[in-house]
Structures are given as structure tokens and as C-alpha cells.
Symmetry: C2
Subunit: 623 residues, 2 copies
């Protein structure tokens, strides 16, 4: 039995699609439902404890004293981790039955509330010895960034629980921010944050409350960039006005959060120039700057984008938060016009760039996600700069809301993952769907309609899928099933009507543009939406970097050691003995192998790497 | 019959070796003597004409007027090209018999002399509309750089001709510079040039004249760096004091010229801290920053060094001048202690990084030297910024002086190339040698001593050479012949004594350090000191980037289309059909080749590429 739909969102005027409530869909699939359960019962309690033991909650408690003593603990943006945790935990409350997390949420809200200052200001870094320095350095100190996370947590909490306590806190702070920052001509203080984030939050607050000033403020913060308020730094997204941009540059998470915020603003205002800037940047990103995983940000230096086609594998940065930010941006672009390319990239990034950041135990994380490793890069239980772990938690908590959307025409199926859904169409009609599938391990998806009514079902045909087929109650569908589009099936549905979508999933060898010199002569293996890698644990004693794939076809089989079961791939490869260890020399004479030996190799989903004993890993294999 | 030795240099007190005069050696080898002849009869007249038609000489003529009218033509450092040409041409006068170039030299000196201002100043860029701005921006305008080239030309002209006319001009300018620049405490103006060069020149002027102030001034210019006089820019070599440096950084030619100048200063002063800084930078360069060609400077941006191991092939910068600068630096390091590693790298760079910059016709040049090309990068007849062509000319003119040095012990054979030499030992004794060899195409070298006397012959055993053998008058030498060292043979020589050194030259497949991701899974072919490449002209219709080398051994044979004859290599390789053209996409599905086809491929010396029809070229082949 589905939980009742207790939250909803209104359609933005310039969006074709409307999101559905996070509890409108109950996942029971082979990947996300498992991580969702892990999130509720392991990750959220674990991260709450981390916020406690690292002093993140204590900063709020101590700031609540009339004259706070001592020093702020940790990094200046640590408040945001508490807010991100609160947002994540709140979303999970929408489906009820999570008493222990619900108690933690209430405790945390109480602690946060007590620290808020009389005028609404709330940032504990500026409540101890730096109490007099509020707003003194927006370039560095992330005050508006933290405020954004507070607002997002409050919106989630309100939507999930219909309670106002956290929302009241957030609105008071948002109002102070709107009163403070703006054009000089309006008697305000010009400024914008070194780290975009508040833009998305303010648009959501506008959607929830209907207060136009929040939307206007979001647009102000976007357009304040590129005029030197932040010293003109590309790192801080201040080099170029947003509307003039052609490519993402600087700090990857900042650039992507800003795009997500701008997409939110466009959905409400419909300003074409914003959409054009977004589309230019998306095109450039997907054709010049993106790892095959969907990961973004080639350079450790400045956590930033590199040059076009600069995509080294071993030294990739590809921060987990950047992948999450890409999902957020693509989701917003998808809602605008219902174009499958955004859903394709969202799904791809979820499996191949977001999930790798999370250990299968929920308690170890990658901040940095290389595509080739020598065994020294290991998952960590926490980070001093802990942006990624709670970002993963809040994304997992929202996953059910990403599966479908609705529009005036009907229901859009973006993601395939076994679930039951009860969706409210824009005309108030209810559509109940059951999705039955072993996707992503199998390409057969059955969609069963419960109840009756006339509406369209839009099914995504993934861009990677040639030869998709569709049957409705065993009758073949006679329209085109073009990869990278949605197919629309409109009819007067009768309860029990069944659509069977079949997406062939041969293993694909994927090559990259010749200017990506890191991948010259190499291919990566994919099957369906999943990117694969070889890891030492399955290929003991082999020199992974020296493997040369021989023949197609490849085998695939279930592999039962991870996440219940995942599909592993098997292939034949020529082997090379491990290279002799390198000293300091840059070049040395070698010998070609006259008659290479062949062996069977096993590849696992890239998202599952780094969960066993330390050892090398490689995505790109020689061909 | 050898020309008489008309010039000589004194040994620097901290150098073990002393250079020999440029006309002490007459080359008759298979590479350098051909280019030397090309230099005298084609390159120098051609470049003189270029200096004329591009206004470089005209700037001097017009600047000589009492009130120069009009505008300076070309780039602000264009005077230096005239000076470099004068230096190149002067060295060739040492061997006489070059009347037409001798006339051009006299004309050019007359033009330069007329433009010198009464106080000795001489830079035509600051003699027209910017006449009042002399010395106003050392960071950008290369005034001391141009002065350095004037001084080097004057030293060459004096050594080669024993005439004083150009030297007088240069000394007047050098004296003005010494009077002008120095520490504030000495009542002078602090400053150093954005582009190092004058340091080497001043040390040479000191060696020629014995005037200590020139040496002191060179050291002042080196130590003035790293204190913000040039804005602290790494590009201008102002980020770190030279003595503290651990690696080359910024603009490659500037960094290398500075090292060459510092090595010159060390040779005179023996300050250990300078030598240590030089050795650290040399170690770092050769193990982290150097193309297999010996080329230096990975990035177009700022013509600069990249990160460690950042050595992309298709986008390599590897400016011809940087290779020449590396030869200059290695030569100076070699003279200090007679260590073979410097001679090894000098020879390697000469063949594989300097020569590729020059077309076989002497009238087309590469400024940028990629190690992989798609056919669009073509040699040019000249450049707006024409630093490389006259730099090649002055290096070719000095080549005979690089073959041998002398020390208190005897004669050092650095380079192998057929020649006759008449060398003056430090005790005044004369040693006459004949070197007979087809090197670099063959590893057998006969050295015949003419005349008698007791001294040592030091023979370089190249670092790449395993299994060298040596016979003296057919008797096997019984000492060790360790690669990368000099073997000393001391005896009372009798006229006609013959040493036969045999250096085996199998084809070598060379791999690079795994952190050079551009070369993963690839090898480069070398034979003796020569680096090879495959070029479309010899391998029509093949996808060069897709070639996979099969088996050793390789064949080699003479190839008669270039430079008389060069050795080409032949190998068997698997082929792949040319990749389907790439559009804008970053990734695409591909198919592995089930049964690769094999073919014979031909590789030519990398230095000879780009001399025929346009087409792709590749140094690093898949293995």
C-alpha cells in the first residue's frame, strides 16, 4: 500500500513538466531502493553522529549562549553540513516510519533555532570571535551558501512534514538577506556569494511561499556576477556575467550549482537569454569537459574544470558533489521541455558519477573519483571538508521523486527502476502505475496501469539503446522508438493495461574523441546505463593497465558479492607482465611482447569499485 | 688541409674542459657538414634577405638619422634577429672562403654602428616615437635581451675575424648597461630583463676582454630575479630567486637561457650554490619535463613548461629555440666537469629537437615541434616573431666547436661525426685527429692520431649504448666501456695510431613513465642517437595513430630521398582502418577489430619529418 501523497509542487510557468512528490513513488528496485534503505537506517544516523563528534552541532549549541565563548570548531562552512543532513533526513520523513531519524531532525531543528540571532542572522562562524565580521568577505566565507542550505532544508522539511518550525527560521534569515543585498540604487549592499547555492534555495522558497522577492533576489545574485564584486575570479564564478557565458569554468561545483539556480530562475521567468546561456554551457560540457562517468572537474588545482578535452584518468578530480550538482542541473533542464538528453545524462551521472562516491556500507566516501587508480586512493569515513557525504544523503532521499514527472498530457517515465507510484496529474486525476523490472541489469520493463482514465505515458528511450521494442497488452507498438527521445503512448487506459518496453543491452565498447589523449587506443565497457571497470580484486595478479581487449562478444553474468547482485562482464584480453617498477627515469628501453598471453578478465560496475581490498582499478582498457 | 686555428678561448677556472675554436674542426659527416654547407650558402643569405625585406635592417638605417622619422617596423625585439644573424655569419667567417656572407656582415655592422647613440645606447625600438621611454619597461621590452645578442655577435665577430669594429659598439653599450643597472646602494637603478639572455653574453665579454665588471654585472642580473622587479611573474623568471630554484618553470626559453647564463657565471666564480641550483633543475627537467625528442615546453600558453609529466604530443609546444637553449645549457654543464650525461643530452637534443626545426631546404622552419600531427602543421618561410631561424643559423655555425674539447689531460671526443681536427692542448701541444665514420647511421668510429705526443683521449660511450667495444691498433681495449661515461685512453701516441670504437645500434623501443598519460601503451623507436617517426608520405593510406607494432626485430635500410641518405626503419604493424570522422561528440560506441590486418611500415628520422607532402606524423606508436 502506498503512503498517501502528502506533498506536491506547482508547475513553474516555463516548465513543461511538474515534479511529483518524493513519496508519490515507492522504489523496490535493485539499486536505488537498497541505497534508500541504507540511507534511512545507516547513513543518516551515521552522519548525524559525525556532525556531533566533529563539533558541527556543538557550534550551534554554543553559539546559542548569550555571549558565546571559545572558538568555532572546524571549517567556516560547517553549518551547511548540518543543513544538508536536515534536508536529507526531512525528505525521508515524507514516507513516515523513521522514528529515530525523526527524533534527530527535531533535536537538530531545536539546536539551530536557538542559535538564530534576533534579526534573523544565522551563521555560527560569525558568532564567536568573529561576531563583528558578518558579511565582511562574501568571496571566501560562504555565508549565503550556508543560508541557501538552511533554506533548502526548511523547504524539504515543510514539504515532507507540513510543519513550519524550520521554515520560519529560514524565512527570517532569507528576509534579512533580501533586505541587505541588492543594487546600490535600491539603498542596498551589492554582493553575491563566492560559492553559488542560495539561488536554487531562494527559487524554491518562492515556489513554496509565493513571495516574489525571493525569486527576484535569486536573479539578483546571479546577475551580480561578472562585475568584479568577487574580485573577478573565475574560481568564484565572477569572471563573466552569467548571461554571456559559453562554457563552464573555474570551480566545478560552483559553476554547476549556479547553472542549476539559473535554470530554476528561468523556469519561473522565461527569460530566453538565461536559457541560451544554459544550453551553450551544457553543450560545451557534454562535448568537451565530461568524463565518461559523467564526472566533472578535471583538475585538483582549484577543484576546477581543465582545458577542453583535458580529462586525465588517474589524476581526475571529478568531485562527488560536482556529479550531484550535474544531476540537479540536468533535472531542472529536463523539467523545462521534457528533452530526453537531460534525463539520459541524469541517469548516467547517477549510476556512474554519483554512486561511486558512496561505499556499499554507507559509511565510507570518495570525495575525488579517478577513473584509473593504483590502489592508494581509498574511501574515507569522513572529511574535514565534508560536503560530499550529506550531499549524497540528500540526493538518495530525493531519488523517488526523480523517476516520474507529470505534465498536462500525462505521465513521464524518466528512470527505470521497479516501483509503485501514485501520481496526481495536472487536471487532478490520479494515475497509479506499477513498474516491474530488473533494470539496470536487464532491459525488460513492464509498466502496469491501475485504475482507468485517458492520459499519455511518455517513456524514455535511452540514447544508448538501439533496437528498443514496445508492446501494449502484447500488441506491438507501431510508432518509432528513437534513441534519445520520449515515446508517447496515449489511450484510454483500463486497469491492468500493461506496457512492455524492451531495451536491448549488449555490452558496448566506447571510445573517446581523439583529443582526449589520456584515452588514445583505449575503450571503456558499458552495458545499458552502467559503466564498467576492472579491479584487482577480480583480476588478481594482472597488470590492469596492460590489458588489451581481444574479441567481442563479451559475457555478462550476475555477481553476488555486491549489493545483492550486480551484473559483471567477462572478456578475453591479452596480458602483459607487470611493468618493471619505475625509478626516477622518464624514458627507458622496453621490449614488445612477441606472443601475448590471453586470459579471462572480469569487469564490475564502476560505481562498485573500491569496496574490497586495495588494488589498482582501470576504466579505460587498451584495444 | 685544415684552416689555421685563429681563435681560441681560455679555460674558465671552474671548468675542467676548455672549448676549442670553431674552426679547429672541419666536419665532413653525413648530417652536420651538410647543414653547415646549407647554412653558409643558403640559410645565411636567405635570412639576411628576410632581415631586409621585413624592415629589420631598415629600422637601424632609419634610426641612424639625426631625428628618425616614421615608425619602428615589426616586433619590439626585432633588432635581436639582426644580431643573431651577425653572430651566425661571423662564426662562419672563421673558416674563410665566404665572400658574399663576409660582405653582408660588413654591411650589417656598418648599419648597426651608425644607429648607436652617443652614450652607447642601441635599440631601434626606442629610437623612433618611443625615444623617451628607454629602460621604462624591462619586464616587456627586451632591451637587455637585444643587448645580449649584440654582445654575443660582437664576441663571435672578434673571435672569428680578430676585428674590433663590432666589439667596440658592443662594449660601449655594455659599459652603459653596467653604469646604469645595479643595486640602489651603489647608486644604480635596480633592474633585470623580462627575457634572460644578456647573462651569457656578459660572461663571454668578460672572457674576451678580462673586464671583471661584465662578469659582476651578469651575476647581478641573475640575482636580481625573484624579488619582484618584474612583478614576480613566473613567465619572466621572477617568481623565485635563482639560487633557490628546484625546477624550471614559466617560459621555457627564458628559463633555459637563464640556466645557461648561470652556468657561465659558475664556471668563472665557482659558487657552489649556483651549481646546486643548476643540477636540481637539470635533474627535474630530464626526469619530469622533457619530450623524448629532448624538446622542452609543453604548453602553448605562455610558451611554458607544464606540470610534471604533462607532455602531450599533438599539442606540444617544444619551441625550436628551447631546444637550442637546452644545447647551450648542456654544453656549459659538460665543460664544467666532463660528465657524459650532458654530452648525451646535447647530442640527443641536436638531432631530435633542434634539427626538426629546420627544413632540408634551409628556407622553411618549425617554431613549434609537436610529436604527433594531423598534417595541418607545416613549415613556414619566416615568422613575425622570428627568433628560431637565426638561432638555428648560429647553432649550425658553431657545430664544429662542439665536437671536441680539451683539458689538462688531453682531448675529449663528445660528438661522433666524420671530421679532421687540429687541437691545441692546454700545454700548448698540438693534437691532430681524423675521425672517420658514417655515424649517426653506423656505430663504427675510427679515430686516427696524426703526429705524436702523450695525452689522453676521452671517448664518450653514449648512455643508450650497450656492448660498446674499442680497439687500439686492432688490440682490444681492456678497460670498462660503461654507457654514459667517457673512457680515457692515455698513451704516447704515434702518428697513424688508430682507435676503432664500435657502438652497436639495434633499434630500440622506448617507453615512457606511466605518468605521461599521452604515451600509455605506446613506444617510440630509436636507433643510436636518432628518434624515429612514421609519416604519411612513406605509409600512404594507413591510420598512423592506429598502428600497433608487432614483433621485433626491425629492419633498417638507407633511404635516399633525404639529406643524401638517412637510415629508415621498417617494422610489421597491425593496422586499423582510419577512425570514422569525429563530430562534436565526446564519446561513441566502437567495435574492436577481431582479426587485425598486418602491414609493413616505414619510419624516418623525426628530424626529417614535414619535408614532403602534408600528412599525419606520429612518434609514439601503439604496442
Amino acid at each position: 500500500m502506498l503512503s498517501p501523497v502528502i506533498t506536491d509542487t506547482t508547475r513553474s510557468p516555463h516548465s513543461r513538466l511538474r515534479p511529483v512528490a518524493v513519496n508519490a513513488v515507492t522504489l523496490d528496485d535493485r539499486v536505488w531502493s537498497l541505497f534508500g534503505r541504507l540511507n534511512r537506517f545507516v547513513i543518516l544516523p551515521y552522519q548525524y553522529r559525525q556532525c556531533e563528534v566533529t563539533g558541527r552541532l556543538e557550534n550551534f549549541r554554543r553559539a546559542a549562549a548569550p555571549s558565546p565563548q571559545g572558538e568555532f570548531q572546524g571549517l567556516f562552512f560547517n553549518d551547511s553540513d548540518v543543513y544538508k543532513w536536515l534536508e536529507a533526513a526531512s525528505w525521508t520523513l515524507a514516507s513516515g516510519e523513521n522514528a529515530s531519524v525523526a527524533n534527530m531532525v527535531d533535536t537538530a531543528i531545536g539546536i539551530v533555532a536557538a542559535a538564530q540571532q534576533p534579526d534573523g542572522y544565522l551563521n555560527t562562524y560569525f558568532m564567536f570571535d568573529r561576531a563583528g565580521e558578518r558579511w565582511s568577505n562574501l568571496t571566501v566565507y560562504h555565508e549565503l551558501y550556508c543560508a541557501g542550505h538552511l533554506i533548502q532544508a526548511a523547504v524539504a522539511h515543510k514539504r515532507a512534514t507540513n510543519r513550519d518550525d524550520l521554515l520560519t527560521i529560514a524565512r527570517r534569515f532569507a528576509d534579512l538577506i533580501c533586505d541587505t543585498f541588492g543594487p546600490e540604487a535600491a539603498g542596498k549592499r551589492p554582493g553575491t556569494d563566492g560559492h553559488p547555492e542560495i539561488e536554487m534555495a531562494l527559487v524554491e522558497l518562492y515556489r513554496l511561499t509565493g513571495e516574489r522577492r525571493y525569486l527576484d533576489q535569486a536573479l539578483y545574485f546571479i546577475d551580480a556576477r561578472g562585475h568584479g564584486l568577487l574580485g573577478g575570479a573565475v574560481y568564484c564564478q565572477d569572471e563573466t556575467p552569467f548571461r554571456q557565458r559559453h562554457k563552464l569554468a573555474g570551480h566545478a561545483v560552483r559553476a554547476l550549482y549556479l547553472c542549476a539556480g539559473a535554470a530554476d530562475v528561468y523556469a519561473e521567468t522565461g527569460e530566453t537569454v538565461l536559457l541560451e546561456a544554459l544550453e551553450r554551457q551544457w553543450q560545451h560540457m557534454t562535448t568537451r569537459q565530461m568524463y565518461i562517468s559523467g564526472g566533472l572537474g578535471a583538475r585538483h588545482e582549484g577543484e576546477s574544470f581543465g582545458d577542453d578535452y583535458e580529462l586525465p584518468n588517474d589524476t581526475a578530480y571529478a568531485e562527488t558533489c560536482a556529479a550531484i550538482a550535474s544531476v540537479m542541473w540536468n533535472w531542472r533542464m529536463l523539467l523545462l521541455h521534457g528533452e530526453a538528453r537531460y534525463a539520459d545524462l541524469m541517469e548516467h551521472t547517477l549510476y556512474n558519477a554519483v554512486l561511486p562516491g558512496l561505499a556499499l556500507d554507507g559509511q565510507h566516501y570518495f570525495y575525488v573519483n579517478p577513473l584509473a587508480a593504483d590502489g592508494t586512493h581509498r574511501r574515507q569515513p569522513w572529511f574535514n571538508c565534508a560536503c560530499c557525504p550529506p550531499n549524497l544523503a540528500r540526493l538518495l532521499a530525493q531519488m523517488p521523486g526523480y523517476v516520474y514527472s507529470v505534465s498536462d498530457e500525462g505521465v513521464w517515465a524518466h528512470l527505470y527502476a521497479q516501483n509503485d507510484a501514485q501520481l496526481t496529474l495536472t487536471n487532478g486525476q490520479t494515475a497509479r502505475l506499477k513498474q516491474r523490472t530488473n533494470y539496470p541489469w536487464d532491459g525488460r520493463i513492464d509498466l502496469v496501469v491501475e485504475g482507468s482514465g485517458e492520459f499519455s505515458l511518455f517513456l524514455r528511450i535511452p540514447g544508448w539503446c538501439d533496437g528498443a521494442s514496445l508492446a501494449i497488452n502484447t500488441q506491438p507498438f507501431d510508432g518509432a522508438l528513437t534513441p534519445g527521445t520520449y515515446v508517447e503512448v496515449r489511450r484510454q487506459w483500463q486497469s491492468g493495461d500493461r506496457l512492455r518496453l524492451t531495451l536491448p543491452m549488449p555490452v558496448r565498447a566506447v571510445e573517446s574523441h581523439p583529443r582526449v589523449t589520456a584515452n588514445t587506443g583505449r575503450v571503456a565497457l558499458m552495458r545499458g546505463p552502467i559503466l564498467y571497470c576492472v579491479e584487482a580484486a577480480d583480476n588478481p595478479g594482472l597488470n590492469l593497465d596492460g590489458l588489451t581487449l581481444c574479441d567481442e562478444p563479451y559475457d555478462s553474468s550476475f555477481f553476488f558479492n555486491m549489493l545483492g547482485a550486480v551484473i559483471a562482464l567477462h572478456a578475453t584480453a591479452h596480458t602483459q607482465p607487470p611493468a618493471a617498477p619505475w625509478g626516477n627515469e622518464l624514458y627507458r628501453t622496453t621490449r614488445l611482447q612477441a606472443t601475448p598471453e590471453t586470459t579471462q578478465i572480469t569487469a564490475i560496475p564502476y560505481f562498485a569499485w573500491g569496496n574490497r581490498e586495495a588494488g589498482p582499478m582501470q576504466v579505460w582498457l587498451r584495444m
